[in-house]
Each structure stands twice: as structure tokens, then as C-alpha cells.
């Protein structure tokens, strides 16, 4: 049973550039139309949500999260595409935006409740429960302008928590109130979920998303980047948001005492584009850049891959180079060129660093733990865990035996 369905939904915004300050009025008027620029907040987004499923939507600012929220809650309409909503939908967005400071708590319950789509008799029926949940019994006839911010938020959430919808849209609301109240909110949402409410949760709070959702969609520049298991999708998001550069630079004071640091690590596909998602059997290139402060003798570079459970899977190492690596102060880079990724599908965490070959294990010149996550997807030539690069040659039982050129068959076999 599908409760929510988005079919190729796009949303375009018009951005109007300000005219040059000293342009004449007439010129401003003439260029009125040309000053518009289209910005696609969402582009051809399609997904659906099953009944009683809890879907999380994550992504960086500007990825289109709040646009989806606005479309689903009917605040704005799509530019193209179609949205199907099966059931009563309520959005729990920024609690308290419908409060009026002069009115009492009780009056505000009626006001806010009606704005959220409740009927008066429904509110009257639930009034006691709302007041109880918000823990505001003695202040309910006080104007809300006398409320503390915590009381304000509690009342807001309490009203929304009593909406009792078929589909519930959640914003960053869980980030409010004290810990005890937050706990209560999560419990309430879990309860709603158990009773069969479909939930769409849009948030930056990855822990809450992980806890609450059965499925997570990662948005990037208005398009779906990943859709699936919460752990995997969140890992992918985390890796893209974590900046290795910033991480290693975190302690500037520390840096001075260092002998060398890894300044960046990037993965590239066969077209030379930086990317974090590959297919088994596809080429992959890792480029590690570093900076040396003091002369170093006999060092090695490594890039290690771990499964989500923390199991060590594979690695690239500079040990494959012939000869000893000695470094002089300055900047350098090292490239690991892999012709075919052997890892099976999944998300892998990456460690990288510089070590002194003679130093005991664990003493590193610089080590970045779990600095990136790489996603590997299925390819049609992989059946199970490992991929072994191979070249296939065939001798058909015809008169003349011709050997195919290696490169051709290889390319055929991989893609």
C-alpha cells in the first residue's frame, strides 16, 4: 500500500538578480524580464513511501529537503510532476509558528490546533491530554508571552503530537526542548509509527534519523543521490560532509610539531572525475596529497578500506614501490591506480596516513581515521563477495582461430 508517491517532481524557483545600482530607471524596467534566473530546487524526483514506513530525508543545506517538505505539506505547488497523497497528512514544522503572544495557552491551543487542521470539537476532546503532555496545567490560562521558551516549545509540540494523522511530516522539531521532553517526543512518534502512521522525517540530526527511519533518501542538488538502508545512506552522507582537509588541519598548533600531514585524499573514476561511488570491476584512482615539514627517512603511505562493522578489507600501500621513500620538506602526492575494484557491494570506510616503516604499529606520522566512505555498487559481472579481474579469450570451433585483442575483450567484460 503506497501512502505517498512523487512522480518526476520538479520545482523551479525564479531568482531575480538586482539591477545595477546606477542603471537608469528605464533600463531597469526594460531588463525586468531578463533579470530572472531559474533555479531548480528539485529535478525529476520520484519515490514512494509505503504505509507505516518511516522515511528519512537527509542532505546538505540547499539539497532540496525543505522543498520536498513544502510540496508535501501543500505550502507550495510543483513546477512539474505529480504528487499523490493517500490519507490525512499533517506536518509538524517549526512548532509554535502559529502562536499569538497575547492569547492564553488555552486560546492558543484552539488557534494553533485549527491552523494545523483540527476541528474545534476535536481540540476540546483532546484539550486535557494536550495540556497534560505539555506539563502546563497551572499556566494554561496565562498569555503565552509570559511563557519561557521551553514552555512555548512544549505546548507547540504537544498540540502537534495530538494531530493523529495518517501521514506525519517531521521537520527539525526533535531538536527542541530539554532531554526529558525530547525523549517524550521520540516516544510519541515511535508510538504513532507503531500504530501504522506513515512518517517522513526531514532532518540534519542523523542520529535521530537512524533511530526512527526504516529507509533514508539522500538528496544532492535537488536529485536523489542514494535511497535505501539508513546506515549505508547516512554513512555516505557523512563521508561527503566530512572534509578531510579541515579535519587534518584542525589543530594548527599541533601541526607545527608534526613532521608531515596528509592534506587531502580523493577518489577518481575512469573519466578523472572525483567521486565516492564505484562499481565492482570499475577502475578507481586514489590520490593522496601531503605536506612535509621536516626531512623524513623511510616512510610509507597507506589507504585502507574497512567494512561498516570495522573489519579490515583491503588496502593500497606504497610498499609496492621499489626502493625506500625519503622525503624533503615541501608538498607531494602519491597515486594508487586500481584497474578494477575488487570489493563487493557495500559502504567502506577509509583510513589513510603516513607511517615510518621502522616505527612500531600504531605510531604514525599522520593518520586519518575513517576520513571517507566509499560506496560500491553491484555490477552485472559480480555474483558474490569478490571480483577477480580477468581477461576472457574464446576459441570457437570454426576453421580459422583468431585471438581477440586483449583490450577489447577486457573492456567488454568489465563494463
Amino acid at each position: 500500500m503506497i501512502d505517498l508517491e512523487l512522480k518526476q517532481v520538479s520545482k523551479k524557483y525564479r531568482i531575480r538578480r538586482e539591477a545595477e545600482k546606477n542603471a537608469s530607471f528605464l533600463r531597469k524596467l526594460m531588463s525586468w524580464r531578463n533579470q530572472r534566473q531559474d533555479f531548480w530546487a528539485l529535478k525529476d524526483v520520484s519515490f514512494n513511501v509505503q504505509r507505516a514506513e518511516a522515511l528519512g530525508i537527509i542532505g546538505h543545506n540547499g539539497a532540496g529537503k525543505s522543498t520536498i517538505l513544502k510540496l508535501l505539506s501543500r505550502i507550495t505547488t510543483p513546477s512539474s510532476g505529480e504528487i499523490m497523497i493517500n490519507g490525512r497528512l499533517s506536518a509538524l514544522i517549526e512548532v509554535g509558528s502559529g502562536f499569538h503572544p497575547e492569547l492564553t495557552g488555552r486560546e492558543n491551543i484552539y488557534l494553533n490546533g485549527s491552523i494545523l487542521g483540527m476541528l474545534r470539537r476535536e481540540i476540546t476532546r483532546k484539550l486535557d491530554s494536550i495540556v497534560e503532555f505539555a506539563e502546563l496545567r497551572q499556566f494554561i490560562d496565562t498569555p503565552v508571552k509570559r511563557y519561557s521558551s521551553g514552555m512555548y516549545v512544549r505546548l507547540g509540540f504537544s498540540i502537534a503530537a495530538h494531530l493523529d494523522p495518517d501521514i506525519l511530516l517531521l521537520d527539525e522539531v526533535l531538536a527542541v526542548g530539554d532531554a526529558a521532553f525530547q525523549q517524550k517526543c521520540i516516544q510519541r512518534i515511535t508510538e504513532l509509527k507503531k500504530s501504522g502512521t506513515t512518517i517522513v522525517f526531514i532532518s540534519h540530526d542523523l542520529r535521530a534519523v537512524q533511530k526512527l527511519c526504516d529507509r533514508v533518501i539522500l538528496l544532492k542538488s535537488g536529485q536523489i543521490e542514494a535511497d535505501g538502508d539508513p546506515t549505508e545512506t547516512i554513512a555516505l552522507y557523512e563521508s561527503s560532509s566530512r572534509n578531510l582537509h579541515a579535519q587534518t588541519r584542525a589543530g594548527a598548533a599541533q601541526e607545527a610539531s608534526r613532521e608531515a600531514v596528509v592534506t587531502s585524499l580523493g577518489f577518481y573514476d575512469d573519466e578523472g572525475k572525483e567521486c565516492l561511488s564505484f562499481r565492482t570491476g570499475m577502475p578507481m584512482k586514489a590520490v593522496l596529497k601531503y605536506k612535509v615539514y621536516k626531512p623524513l627517512v623511510d616512510v610509507m603511505f597507506e589507504v585502507q578500506f574497512y567494512s561498516q562493522e570495522g573489519r579490515f578489507y583491503s588496502f593500497f600501500t606504497s610498499e609496492t614501490l621499489a626502493g625506500q621513500i625519503d622525503l624533503q620538506p615541501g608538498e607531494g602526492s602519491i597515486v594508487f591506480d586500481c584497474s578494477a575494484v575488487g570489493l563487493g557491494p557495500g559502504v567502506y570506510f577509509v583510513d589513510t596516513g603516513i607511517r615510518n616503516r621502522s616505527a612500531p604499529f600504531g605510531i604514525d606520522i599522520d593518520w586519518c581515521r575513517r576520513c571517507l566512505a566509499v560506496r560500491i555498487d553491484y555490477d552485472r559481472h559480480l555474483r558474490d563477495t569478490f571480483y577477480m579481474p580477468y581477461i576472457c579469450r574464446h576459441s570457437p570451433p570454426t576453421a580459422s582461430i583468431t585471438e581477440a585483442k586483449d583490450e577489447d575483450v577486457y573492456a567488454e567484460g568489465v563494463r
Binding site: 510540496l71 505547488t77 485549527s114 487542521g117 474545534r120 502512521t197
Partner: protein
């Protein structure tokens, strides 16, 4: 202790409405569907109207008296200017009651328009956060002004008693006239508030516009004072018929002038659906531009 809200009722206790959201393509056929959606939100309309009235008079010493004071002070000013100084005709009635009988419906019309026009923009917080049929906002301003009208009417009755003006059976015409005036206020309120979302100039221009509009309507002078040759153009103003006839049936106690009343009625019948359609068109992307 964790208090949880009343147990959730079993699912599928109510029919699940299926809603399809598509890009804007508003046709007159959708009008009925939209009105049905509006009916669904009648509780919000009621709550917001009560809210407007409450908020307006909370923390004010004079409270409801303000509803009377507004037309009353205007009446006093105009009486001094137009009766004592300029000596305008008032069709036999004392000028004070003559002016008040027209200022009463006019104040309703003008406050409806002023408050409804800025109503959407001043609720931008709400409009960008929650969905509800947006026309409810301007509509509640009109109905709150209607409430003020009722309060201020009591003073008209007091004036009638003081000046010994007796009501006739024609005073009952005031009811359909008032309905017509509400329809006009709604039509203009919807249209102007939708325009205001994109062009804030409207809100700034409103006081001036209403000032001009008032002098183009028989409020401080009788319709009969308008030269005959200008009458046909003058009558195109839809508020002429309602304001003039309201005073006629209340103060003079004679039958309304059906010609001018019909003009207003036709105007309302055309403008109201048009304004609503325009409003719903703007509504679709209102949250993006507000």
C-alpha cells in the same frame, strides 16, 4: 513519569482522502472543489475571526468602544467641516446622523480592505509554514470588521433615538444591502491581498486609495447632489449603490433605489468569482514569493 497522549485510535477509522498535487492549472471548474475545501476549514475561519476580535481589544482600555469611536470621530470631523463650515445638503436629516449612517457601512468596507490587504503578508510566518486555504486570512479580516460594524450600529440606533428618527419596514432592506457590501469587501479584499503579496506598493497606496474612494461614494454628501450628467459614470463605482441605499432605507425610511442597487449587485456577482479565481492562482506559489 512519562505522560502519553490518549491512545491512538485504530487506523482506517475514517476514509482516507486521496489528494493529487499537480502544477498550477486553475480553471473555473475547480471553483466548486476549492469552495468545498474551504468549507472543510470552517472551524479555522471561526477561530481566527474570534482571535482577530480578541487580539484587537486585548490590552486596550477602551476595548470595544473603539469600534464606535472610529466612525464617530470621523462623523464629528465631517459634521464640523461639511455642515458647520461648508453647509452641504443632507436631505433634511440632521447632518450628524446623515453622515454617521453612511460612515458606518463605509468604515466596515474600508477597514475590511485595509486589514485584509496586509493580512496575508503579516502572516507570512504562517503562510510559509503551514497549509490551509489562504483566503481564510483575508476573509477573517472582513468578518472581524463586520463584528465591529454590528457594535458600531448600536450608536446609530442611539442617534436615531436622540434625533427622533423612526425606522420603517424598509429598514429590512439593510440586510441584503449589507450582504452585498460584504461580498464587495470580500472581492476587493481577496484581490488586493493577493496583489500585495507580490507588490507591496498596494499596502502603501491603500490609505490614499480609500480616501479617494470615499469621496467618490455618497458618504459625506447625498447621491442627489451629484450632477445628473455625471450620474452614469458615477454609478459605475460599485460602492455607490450600497452606501447610498443603506442610508436611504435606514434614515429616510423609503424604498431603495433599485437601479443603483442592481449595479452594485451585478458588480459583486462578477467581481467576487473573478477575485477568488485570481486569488487561488496566486495562492499556488504564494509561499515562494511572500
Amino acid at each position: 513519569m512519562i505522560v502519553t497522549p490518549t491512545a491512538t485510535l485504530p487506523r482506517d477509522r475514517h476514509p482516507r482522502p486521496i489528494k493529487i498535487i499537480r502544477p498550477v492549472s486553475f480553471s473555473p471548474l475547480d471553483l466548486l472543489r476549492e469552495l468545498r475545501g474551504l468549507w472543510h476549514y470552517r472551524d479555522l475561519f471561526y477561530t481566527l475571526t474570534v482571535h482577530r476580535i480578541k487580539v484587537r481589544y486585548k490590552q486596550s482600555v477602551l476595548g470595544l468602544a473603539w469600534a464606535i469611536l472610529q466612525p464617530l470621530s470621523l462623523m464629528l470631523i465631517y459634521t464640523v467641516i461639511f455642515s458647520v463650515i461648508a453647509k452641504l445638503p443632507s436631505e433634511g436629516a440632521p447632518y450628524a446622523v446623515f453622515a454617521y449612517a453612511a460612515l458606518l457601512p463605509w468604515t466596515f468596507f474600508s477597514t475590511s480592505l485595509t486589514s485584509a490587504t496586509t493580512g496575508l503578508v503579516s502572516h507570512s510566518q504562517l503562510v510559509t509554514k503551514v497549509y490551509f486555504p489562504r483566503e481564510i486570512l483575508p476573509l477573517t479580516y472582513v468578518s472581524a470588521s463586520l463584528f465591529d460594524f454590528v457594535i458600531a450600529s448600536s450608536f446609530l440606533i442611539a442617534l436615531f433615538v436622540y434625533y427622533g428618527v423612526g425606522l420603517t419596514v424598509y429598514a429590512l432592506y439593510a440586510i441584503p444591502i449589507l450582504v452585498l457590501l460584504t461580498a464587495l469587501a470580500t472581492a476587493f479584499g481577496l484581490f488586493l491581498s493577493a496583489v500585495q503579496v507580490r507588490f507591496r506598493d498596494i499596502g502603501v497606496a491603500m490609505p490614499l486609495l480609500l480616501q479617494i474612494w470615499m469621496f467618490a461614494t455618497p458618504v459625506v454628501y447625498p447621491l442627489s447632489a451629484v450632477p445628473q450628467r455625471l450620474r452614469s459614470i458615477y454609478a459605475l463605482n460599485p460602492t455607490v449603490g450600497v452606501i447610498e441605499n443603506f442610508r436611504r432605507v435606514m434614515l429616510q425610511g423609503v424604498a431603495p433605489d433599485l437601479h443603483s442597487l442592481a449595479t452594485s449587485a451585478i458588480a459583486a456577482a462578477i467581481l467576487l468569482p473573478l477575485a477568488y479565481l485570481y486569488f487561488k492562482r496566486v495562492e499556488a506559489t504564494m509561499a515562494d514569493i511572500i
